[in-house]
Symmetry: C4
Subunit: 284 residues, 4 copies
Amino acid sequence: MPSARNLTPKYNQGDELSPWRESLNRIIFGYQTRLGRAFDLVLIISILLSVIAIMLDSVEAIRLEYGSLLYAIEWGFTILFTIEYLLRLICVRKPWLYARSFYGVVDLMSVIPTYLTLIIPGAKYMLVIRILRVLRLFRILKLAEYIGEAHVLITALTKSRQKILVFLYTVLTLVVVFGSLLYVVEGDESGFTSIPKSVYWAIVTLTTVGYGDIAPVTPLGQFIAASIMIMGYGIIAVPTGIYSAELVKAYTDNKNPESCTACGEAGHDFDAVYCKMCGHKLSD
Amino acid sequence: MPSARNLTPKYNQGDELSPWRESLNRIIFGYQTRLGRAFDLVLIISILLSVIAIMLDSVEAIRLEYGSLLYAIEWGFTILFTIEYLLRLICVRKPWLYARSFYGVVDLMSVIPTYLTLIIPGAKYMLVIRILRVLRLFRILKLAEYIGEAHVLITALTKSRQKILVFLYTVLTLVVVFGSLLYVVEGDESGFTSIPKSVYWAIVTLTTVGYGDIAPVTPLGQFIAASIMIMGYGIIAVPTGIYSAELVKAYTDNKNPESCTACGEAGHDFDAVYCKMCGHKLSD
Amino acid sequence: MPSARNLTPKYNQGDELSPWRESLNRIIFGYQTRLGRAFDLVLIISILLSVIAIMLDSVEAIRLEYGSLLYAIEWGFTILFTIEYLLRLICVRKPWLYARSFYGVVDLMSVIPTYLTLIIPGAKYMLVIRILRVLRLFRILKLAEYIGEAHVLITALTKSRQKILVFLYTVLTLVVVFGSLLYVVEGDESGFTSIPKSVYWAIVTLTTVGYGDIAPVTPLGQFIAASIMIMGYGIIAVPTGIYSAELVKAYTDNKNPESCTACGEAGHDFDAVYCKMCGHKLSD
Amino acid sequence: MPSARNLTPKYNQGDELSPWRESLNRIIFGYQTRLGRAFDLVLIISILLSVIAIMLDSVEAIRLEYGSLLYAIEWGFTILFTIEYLLRLICVRKPWLYARSFYGVVDLMSVIPTYLTLIIPGAKYMLVIRILRVLRLFRILKLAEYIGEAHVLITALTKSRQKILVFLYTVLTLVVVFGSLLYVVEGDESGFTSIPKSVYWAIVTLTTVGYGDIAPVTPLGQFIAASIMIMGYGIIAVPTGIYSAELVKAYTDNKNPESCTACGEAGHDFDAVYCKMCGHKLSD
């Protein structure tokens, strides 16, 4: 689990700032002080409210009635978030590093679409990307714990990356081959009008989603489709197996790699103070 | 596995009651005596019959024919369950604690809707909540065993709670972002009439349910949809992996149950010779 | 893994029979001799052919053309299987025990429907139950191995039986409660015409099958449906986790339970000859 | 993980060839030299482009506009791949062994369909089989690593082969029996027009694909369907459990790789002091 120190992002590590920027930094980026946590809480509620406003704005009946109100809300939040973004740039220790960080990019992309709507009208719905900012929520909750949990999940994913790539390539090959096969077998009437569409159908089927907008009608087509389904039903075991095995390993692998200086015995628990074999005190 | 003693709920622990209340308590809350088990059995059969009656009442053809009979049955069971609820309140050791407990609330909610139908007609179908009362069934069956099994499952769920929250948050972020994306890409014709509806579609797709009432028709929409499907197909590995690993750990967590005679520390490896905490030799 | 001896079913264990019955027994029930394996092979091919004939007979276009031929085939196979069943009864060691065994019942049910069609016409399609007889196939293949594999799978299922019952009960409670909820929320127009039908819909949704013949149309209904989907997507982890953990335990649990007579060390591999801790020879 | 040596396929092992064939071999089959990697990269890009061209050709709107261009592209790539195939035959060490190997067959089948279109028009879409050639991609990437990963996955699949066969047989028996049952229960109106079609429906349902093109409408049919769904939801745990357990075993099979100096026995536990086979003290 990562320690408290390395939870501070790189762009906020470094020398002391001037007093007022230091205070601002503690409020905006910090979560140790009461004011810092309050700021984060207000921010997250604002983000959620703004995302809900965007969603409601997309419902025609609501837009017709409350369109101008939602328009005002959207601009209000955008201006607020713009000010916040500028303040972040001012008080952070390494502004350029922050601007290129994941959060920096998300923060910027959370305000740009509204300004873009002055040129491109549809762009505003992309504001829902703001929801990514809510990731900051984990900072208010018992932070280290959640980041630690996410860390375990991501480490397991990273370790099984290559296996998952091999798996994904197999899946893609299967859907291309089977999709083309059904394009040849089934006629246009059942919806298999082109290979790309048939490949789309094969993905819908293999992943067991099964919309039913395209479905084979000939006996041979249904036979091949049944094979893909059973295949898909079976190979879902592969990513699950990979990931389970990786997590099981991560869970059961919690032995200290260092060995006893007296008898050389290794494989002690992390909380062990004395060697379980010879009783000698373990070095810290 | 929990011992017999702590299976007695808190609201029924305490001093001896007056004789007749004590006998009533043993019949209604107990399952050690023959009469107590018989009471539970009759109760569960009554509950199941009443739930079936409510279900049948919702089928129009049956309601038209047997409506008045079902009406009588419903009131009959409701009055019976009301009397039973009052008796429980009278004979339990801590009535107020019982009334606020899970079973107390369920017992009350199992009778209220019928009385509410005098005011709100549709309320009666909420009586199916009575089915929760059947949880008491596990008391008649080999009790401790089943509670023990449920306990293992729930402990594993509790331990993986934080990981599952991280996972759920990721899933929600994905469906909001992808749902909005498809709202922008697809027009109104294919059913993506608003962002909330598109998010609903994204959930239907990511969870591989796939009704097909809303489905993308443009090539770009189908391409993005295919990505969500493969994602959904892959990330189902995450909760399964978390839960499997947690259960495997619970199963294989075979630490020596005996603790050190010197410092009381438990959880030693089976092959440990010395206490890992104080260095004292462990008794064999 | 079960030894060769206990693979002989109970109804065929016992004293020597008269020579001709003993030979017949060896051909019909045995698989050690060449003739016995040939008999099994011919039987399985006959069964598969008869099942295919029944299936084809259900396709109207084929029935109209080849109806009388398929009728003849059906009666031919039925008479053959009836003779075989009678021969089994004659040459088996304990006929009554065989008649009540799983295979005995399946063998009888594989011929009865044809005779029933003289009275009830539709009964013949139930002849597909013959497919269960193909389980005998595993006897011709490397028998013990396959039965051993099935044994591991079934043992793991049996061990997790109670957990799976707890899980199934939870699923049933969920679908009853959520089905009724959607019956109240959605009107008749969207297909939720009665609680039993709504419960059926809830099962279709929770198991991620998702036909789409019944689907919520109101925003509230879709919101509740989305909750069920995410729930269903998550709780599929439960049976998978239970079963995985049980199998992992079965796989990794292959240590010899007996300990060294010299130093008492336990946990030796099954193939260990000397104690890994003190070098003393292990008793066999 | 396989060593570098046994990554060279058998058909390319053997004596030195004449200089120019040796150079050609190194470029076409090798990936150690820069030219060899460049050749593989160009080849894979060509394959992907040709597959995309075939896919686009199947879209009617595109075929009408760019039909002749795509026709030229197709023949161009086919002639290129034919030349490449012939060069492979010339410079490989054992041409006949290569021609019968997996890659040899795929390479041949990647060009034949185009020539076949001179006789059978529809054949060309089978050219997508070319996508299998992209498997060579793993040679350019960190080869041994990916092959090692695939190796682990395939070994686990091979080891669980018998269990998966037992599982598949169970699934097939279930869909035949339940499919026939629904054919008898449901009439023709709901789409259950024949047993093969009903079996197809049962597969669609059991694998949780659920197109909805065929769906039961009678209460009894829906009740049986619900049972199949819950069954399908539960038994997906079986292949996942098998595969997870096999992978967990492969991961945690952490036996000491060093063998006994006296008898050569390997596979000792890490904490073993004496050889479990001959009782000789193990070197530390």
